[in-house]
């Protein structure tokens, strides 16, 4: 292996520092890590998955199964990087993976000796262990298996790089920048369509880049590329993979913006995820060469023939000095010729019985030897190829006589080519089999917006590639209405034998007895041998899906790009069926693996989901509140004083409200404007209680059910005007209630003249609660808020700090209390005005935990009680339901189980002893077993400062008749059993004297 003195497409004026396993590699701008490794003579690149066999560089592209490495270090470390697609950059460091203690001496390689026992499915038959009802033995074995499996090692470090998403729209998306794709983009571009052309490589050209530099093809490429680059309506994205084709003509692309430099700088993103909506797409993705199956065909030094040519012509690396080129088609003759011309000793072992003279001449003219009707039976050597045993074969690949051993350091193989139909298959269906060329191709259907051209469509020759591309580009642009002059199709250039011309469908070489020589691999990365396919067949795993899953062929990081057809061909042979009868597996996205970070873009960490903030949020933060999550909202949980924890703080806050006055930010409540002449009728239907009589200036509590009759939400609604209501919902259900209301109005109740609009953002809201609340508000507003003027469930308009507000008299805490509604932009101002004015009244802010304590003392329900499985009756609200009118859920709430007398219903619990109960504890009778589902559960708990004891709300079977009973409150997961007395849920001021006072 060596770097040639001249030629290639590398920039010799730009040497790069590149290292593998600590060894410096001679690399230039334009190299890949793989080409640099080859140039340096590195043959051992990695270890295989199962047997830890040595693996070299097998390909020059995305299909690489062997040369997978760790790239970069520390928090930019990346496992499983294909050396063949990693662009060389200055400062690149790569290390080997899946080998311990070192790549050259890997303990895991011991598996290779045991390989007969590790055949297909062996683990399904072993490791069960001798113990009934125990999984311990398997789990012990599993520990070792897991350590040996996996490929690269991931790190637990957070990614320092950033990513972005971009939405794009175009008329024609061209996927693939080879001859077909360039021609398609050119036609569509000339027609005037908006075109995006994507190429996964860092250069446009596709297979042309594997032709000798400065050949005729280069001139074609330069001409077409230049024209494209000068079109404003064509966007060219290189280093960009179209990884998936999705519904709605949407394509996912990943652009590797900074993977070819050591680290992104100046806020550049590492990768960009493009979501492209393309009216038409041209798939010009080319083909992937197929391996041949023979003994030790996985040994470093065995390489795809086309790749050997790529390394030679693109990277100026001669991958072997003594080369056996073995093939079943014409394409490898260009490889043989180019290698021979570069000074290698080349022998072509062609599996076919007949090869046309002019094709042979291509090789012989360059100095290569051609053996027709010959194949490689086995690659020989230690950690790399040293020789090949070449045998004469019949048309099925079986040896017909003794072979000879030829010295070789490179075996270049070509089993034909498989069109890269992945994207098409992801979107539509299984591709169809084309006998001529023995390959799967997309079904051509004009109804499809994604169509293929060129080699991915099994074009017959280069002229066909270019004209297919040009024609499909023209057609696609035309279908989007672009009708500019497209001119003439760019002339084709001459090239060597075209991809798989003349292919004979033989993919494996066997001994004279029909068995493979040694280990002959179908799937290189997962170590699936042809004998594993045979065994799967023997055991009845004969469908392609069973075969894939039983042997794991095609499930490695290359997703069967190499193994697919050879495994199918073997199964077809065994089943005595054709390949299409055996079928193929479905291709799934992504085409090549994509980093998770790129798809996530900026939506991570704090920006994983948006956050909703009250207009008063900043004040809470500035004043030491501890915040808690409430759906998307952040709410003040409690305002700790020095040294206080949650418990002390909320008890203090709640007690303070009962004694003086407190205020809490309730801006998070859902608020909905219900407007229109039929608003009352609407409320009458959606709430269980009646609304026809509510006067302007008053408000009323309401409960609503789901369509199936369970409680959905509750809250108060005020009548602001004749046709104008202001509904409040719980924080959690605001969006759900609004969408439900809109649904009913727009689908079922179209006759109602009602508009519902969220006004949650319009209003800040502050609850002011406590015996001194009236005095405080009276002073600060100068408005008469007396019991007579503003009784409970009334509201009035007032001013605070010069701001017009609406004051609702209603109480959640059970205290004399008001809710002040303030235009949001003044929310903080009013809060601060109240805070300052409240000083003589000992006003203190309180958080959600204290609010919880207060409402539990009053037996008011909240989220833990409205948990989606409780009925009005369960929650003690049956009295609210009107019997005079139908309402949402009014029929289904009468289903028998929902009316069973024994259902758990809301009760109060007074906990015995000094320890409070935990919500989620289970209720059991005082005696008997604590098994099963118990008699109910604890929904909400608190220490009640007002009562001086621990209390709770719970739902208890027959709760209505169990007042005074002592029951057990069991928290199994906290190892705690408490006793509690069943009481009314209205612990505190059951008559409501305080709130009505």
């Amino acid at each position: 292996m060596r770097r040639l003195q001249k030629g290639g497409r590398i920039d010799r004026s730009k040497p790069l520092n590149v290292s593998f396993e600590g060894d410096k590699l001679p690399a230039f701008q334009g190299d890949t890590l793989a080409s640099a490794m080859l140039a340096a003579g590195v043959s051992l690149a990695g270890r295989s998955f199962k047997y830890h066999r040595p693996r070299g560089i097998y390909s020059a592209g995305v299909e690489e199964p062997g040369a997978l490495v760790h790239l970069r270090e520390d928090d930019r470390h990346e496992p499983n990087v294909r050396a063949t697609t990693a662009e060389a950059f200055d400062g690149l460091t790569a290390t080997a993976q899946n080998a311990w203690p070192s790549l050259t001496f890997d303990v895991g390689a011991v598996n290779n000796w045991f390989s007969p026992f590790l055949s297909a499915g062996f683990y399904y038959k072993t490791f069960v262990g001798p113990f009934k009802h125990s999984t311990k033995f398997w789990m012990m074995c599993e520990t070792f298996i897991r350590r040996a499996a996996g490929m690269g090692r991931a790190k637990y470090l957070a990614d320092p790089d950033s990513y972005e998403k971009r939405n794009a729209f175009c008329d024609v998306l061209v996927i693939g920048g080879g001859a077909a794709g360039l021609s398609a983009a050119l036609a569509a571009g000339r027609a005037g369509a908006q075109v995006i052309l994507v190429e996964q490589d860092f250069e446009l050209g596709g297979a042309i880049l594997s032709d000798p530099a400065e050949s005729e093809s280069d001139q074609w490429l330069t001409k077409v590329r230049t024209e494209l680059e000068n079109m404003d309506n064509v966007r060219i994205l290189i280093r960009t993979t179209a990884f998936g084709a999705y519904d709605g003509d949407t394509y996912g692309l990943i652009e590797r913006v900074c993977d070819h430099v050591k680290a992104p700088e100046n806020h550049q993103v590492r990768q960009r995820y493009w979501l492209v909506h393309a009216r038409r797409a041209v798939m010009a993705t080319g083909a992937i060469e197929r391996p041949l199956v023979f003994g030790s065909n996985d040994k470093p030094g065995v390489m795809l023939a086309g790749s050997a040519r790529t390394y030679l012509n693109r990277f100026a690396v001669l991958a072997g000095q003594n080369v056996i080129v073995t093939t079943n088609n014409n394409s490898a003759y260009s490889v043989a010729a180019d290698l021979a011309r570069s000074g290698a000793t080349v022998t072509v072992a062609d599996l076919r019985a007949q090869v046309s003279a002019c094709v042979q001449q291509i090789a012989t003219d360059a100095g290569a030897t051609v053996l027709v009707g010959h194949g490689v039976l086995e690659a020989k050597g230690g950690r790399k190829v040293a020789a090949a045993e070449v045998v004469p074969v019949d048309s099925s690949g079986r040896a017909t006589g003794n072979g000879k051993t030829l010295k070789a350091d490179l075996i270049a193989v070509s089993g034909g080519w498989a069109p890269a139909v992945h994207l098409w298959s992801q979107r539509f269906q299984k591709p169809v089999y084309k006998e001529e060329g023995a390959c799967f191709v997309p079904l051509q259907d004009d109804g499809h917006t994604l169509r293929s051209a060129g080699i991915s469509n099994a074009a017959s020759d280069l002229e066909d590639v270019i004209s297919q591309g040009f024609a499909l580009g023209t057609q696609s642009a035309g279908e989007t209405g672009a009708d500019g002059d497209i001119g003439l199709c760019p002339e084709a250039f001459t090239t060597g034998p075209f991809w798989q011309q003349g292919m004979s469908p033989v993919w494996a070489v066997f001994n004279t007895n029909g068995s493979p020589q040694g280990k002959a691999f179908v799937d290189f990365q997962h170590d699936v041998k042809i004998s594993d396919v045979d065994q799967a067949h023997l055991e009845g795993y004969i469908s392609v899906e069973h075969l894939k899953r039983y042997t794991t062929t095609g499930m490695a990081t290359d997703q069967g790009k190499l193994s697919n057809v050879n495994a199918l061909a073997r199964m077809a042979e065994l089943r005595r069926q054709s390949i299409p009868e055996v079928g193929t597996t479905t291709f799934r996205p992504p085409f090549t693996p994509v980093s998770m970070g790129s798809i996530v873009g900026q939506e991570h960490g704090r920006h994983f989901r948006p956050t909703r903030l009250s207009p008063i949020h900043q004040w809470h933060q500035e004043n030491g509140a501890l915040m808690t999550e409430a759906g998307a909202w952040m709410r003040p949980w409690y305002y700790p004083q020095t040294g206080e924890g949650l418990q002390d703080a909320y008890v203090r806050e709640a007690a303070h409200v009962r004694e003086h006055v407190g205020m809490i930010d309730v801006s998070t409540l859902g608020k909905i404007a219900v407007q229109g002449p039929d608003a009352a009728e609407f409320l009458n239907r959606i709430y269980v209680n009646g609304w026809k009589t509510l006067a302007v200036g008053r408000l009323r509590y309401g409960a609503m059910l789901r369509e199936d009759g369970f409680v959905m939400d509750d809250g108060a609604t005020a009548r602001l005007g004749e046709n104008d209501y202001f509904m409040s919902t719980t924080t959690a259900n605001a969006a759900k209630v609004l969408a439900f209301a809109e649904h009913l109005l727009q689908t079922a109740w179209k006759d109602l003249k009602v508009h519902v609009t969220t006004v949650t953002d319009q209003w800040a809201a502050i609850a002011v609660a406590g015996p001194k609340s009236r005095a405080l508000l009276t002073e600060v507003t100068g408005t008469d808020l007396s019991r007579e003027t503003v009784p409970n469930n009334h509201f009035t308009h007032a001013e605070i700090g010069g701001v017009g507000v609406r004051i609702h008299r209603m109480s959640y805490s059970g205290e004399l209390a008001y809710e002040v509604y303030i235009p949001a932009g003044y929310g903080r101002h009013v809060w601060e005005t109240l805070y300052t004015a409240g000083s003589p009244f000992e006003l203190r802010p309180y958080g959600t935990e204290a609010m919880g304590a207060l409402r539990i003392e009053k037996g008011h329900i909240a989220g833990p009680e409205i948990e989606g499985r409780t009925t009005l009756r369960d929650l003690g609200l049956e009295g609210f339901a009107s019997s005079k009118k139908p309402f949402v859920g009014s029929i289904l709430c009468k289903r028998p189980v929902l009316e069973e007398a024994s259902r758990p219903i809301l009760v109060g619990l007074e906990i015995e002893g000094a320890t409070g109960a935990k919500a989620g504890s289970i209720l059991f009778p005082n005696v008997g077993e604590t098994k099963g589902h118990g008699d109910g559960w604890v929904s909400s708990t608190t220490y009640s400062p007002a009562l001086g004891k621990n209390i709770a709300l719970g739902l208890l079977k027959n709760g209505k008749f169990r007042a005074g009973e002592t029951i057990r409150v069991v928290n199994f997961v906290g190892n705690e059993t408490l006793r509690a007395k069943v009481v009314s849920p209205h612990f505190f001021d059951p008559e409501g004297e305080r709130q009505n006072g």
């Binding site: 055949s119 996996g150 637990y156 479905t586 992504p590 833990p864 989606g868 919500a919 989620g920 928290n971």
Partner: protein
């Protein structure tokens, strides 16, 4: 039939693995079976296995339109657990767990039950309370459960995001140590081999196209390759239940939805347990091969297409990174989807139907895989005895009429919310 063991593997290896017998036969159908099971997935195969093993009913055929185990059995995220709270569910899933724990031995097929534990993370005090209730119900029913606070979760799973930056802070977790994963394909193959050993005929690539009726009673199935008469016809076709009952004139409280699954490239052990994110629908485990297996939410709309849409791909990967920031540079290898029965309360059906001779096993929502053994066991009981076992007594179709919704999430009759 070879009994599988390390010894048999050794013995066959010595003869070059060329002497293995078929794991199951490929028989021609008989004209009549006592029971025809429609659907050769895990549930159908398990039903056949237990019909034969527990009830001695061996004149049984499984009719599968494709290849056995080719549906959701081979498309799920392989999690097994028994952390259900609602009466009707709790003991059913615990029966399943107990069957799992002995399944490899019972089937003589290693289905790789890995009881590596499962964490359900909680992100608010309210979620902690809900988790406690669930854990307590489990414990009261003899099922293992532990509740961990934030510090304990951090000690056990140090690689999650506990930083200030986390949008949804981790408050704690409920943990079931007996939960874990199983090798999904092996479950289908193990049951298939077990059923076959008892004489059950597995008829692959045969699609049911209708029923044979005698009066109002179903007495067999029509298939694309001929009719088969049967004493009883049992549906195990979750994802397509509605389609197959429609042919018998029955509408179900079921919609078919698409659930995606994701696997990354293989890595050395990174996550040694199963973690469910409580802030979004997301869970992760790592397969024995090393791929991180990720699961997310439904695609939300009715679908029979076994492929998913991009929004859920984005959502799932964002959840993964939100939970475990280190996954950012790891790579997604493959994503696919399964179609499944989403029922109106999120719970399944194992029941006789209003149509005589027709039995239904379906409505598995997300939970089908973990239920496989108990589903087969209970369905076999129901078919054999014409009445449910107490563990599937509530999985009837009339429960909606009665008002007995088994709604683990409390979200009501909206299939895509379960």
């Amino acid at each position: 039939m070879t009994r599988y063991s390390a010894l048999s593997v050794f013995r066959h290896a010595l003869s070059g693995n060329r002497t293995w017998g078929r794991a199951w036969r490929d028989p021609d159908p008989k004209p009549y079976y006592d029971v025809v099971i429609v659907g050769g997935g895990g549930h159908g195969l398990a039903t056949a296995y237990y019909l034969a093993k527990e009830h001695g009913i061996t004149n049984v055929a499984i009719v599968e339109k494709g290849w056995l185990g080719g549906g959701n059995t081979g498309r799920n995220t392989t999690i097994v657990r028994s952390n259900y709270m609602m009466p009707g569910n709790t003991m059913f899933y615990e029966r399943s767990m107990q069957l799992w724990e002995n399944l490899s031995q019972d089937l003589n097929y290693n289905v790789m039950i890995s009881q590596r534990g499962q964490y359900n993370l909680c992100h608010s005090p309210g979620q902690m309370d809900a988790a406690r209730r669930r854990g307590n119900i489990m414990r009261a029913n003899g099922i293992d459960a532990e509740l961990f606070d934030r510090a304990e979760v951090q000690r056990r799973l140090p690689y999650l995001d506990y930083s200030e930056k986390a949008r949804f802070p981790i408050h704690g977790a409920i943990y079931q140590s007996r939960a874990g994963t199983a090798r999904h394909d092996a479950v289908a193959w193990g049951f298939a081999r077990g059923a076959d050993r008892h004489g059950v005929d597995i008829l692959q690539r045969r699609e049911v196209t209708g029923y044979l009726f005698d009066g109002g009673k179903i007495v067999g199935v029509q298939t694309n390759r001929g009719d088969i008469r049967a004493g009883k016809v049992a549906l195990c076709v979750a994802g397509h239940s509605g389609h197959l009952t429609q042919m018998a004139g029955l509408r179900l409280p079921i919609e078919t939805h698409c659930l995606q699954a994701f696997v990354t490239e293989p890595y050395k052990p990174l996550v040694d347990t199963v973690i469910s994110f409580g802030a979004a629908h997301f869970y992760v485990s790592q397969s024995d091969k090393g791929g991180l297996v990720l699961g997310g939410d439904l695609d939300m709309y009715n679908s029979y297409a076994q492929r998913g849409g991009l929004p859920v791909v984005e959502h799932t990967l964002a959840s993964a990174k939100a939970l475990m920031p280190c996954v950012s540079r790891l790579k997604l290898l493959r994503h696919w989807a399964g179609v499944m029965d989403m029922s109106m309360d999120g719970s399944p059906f194992i029941t006789r139907t209003p149509v005589e001779g027709l039995y239904l096993n379906g409505g598995w929502n997300y939970g089908g895989f973990k239920a496989t053994p108990a589903s087969g066991w209970c369905f076999a009981w129901t078919i054999a005895k014409d009445e449910p076992h107490e563990d599937n007594a509530e999985f009837t179709l009339d429960r909606f009429e009665r008002g007995y919704q088994i709604d683990e999430k409390g979200v009501g009759p909206q299939t895509n919310a379960h």
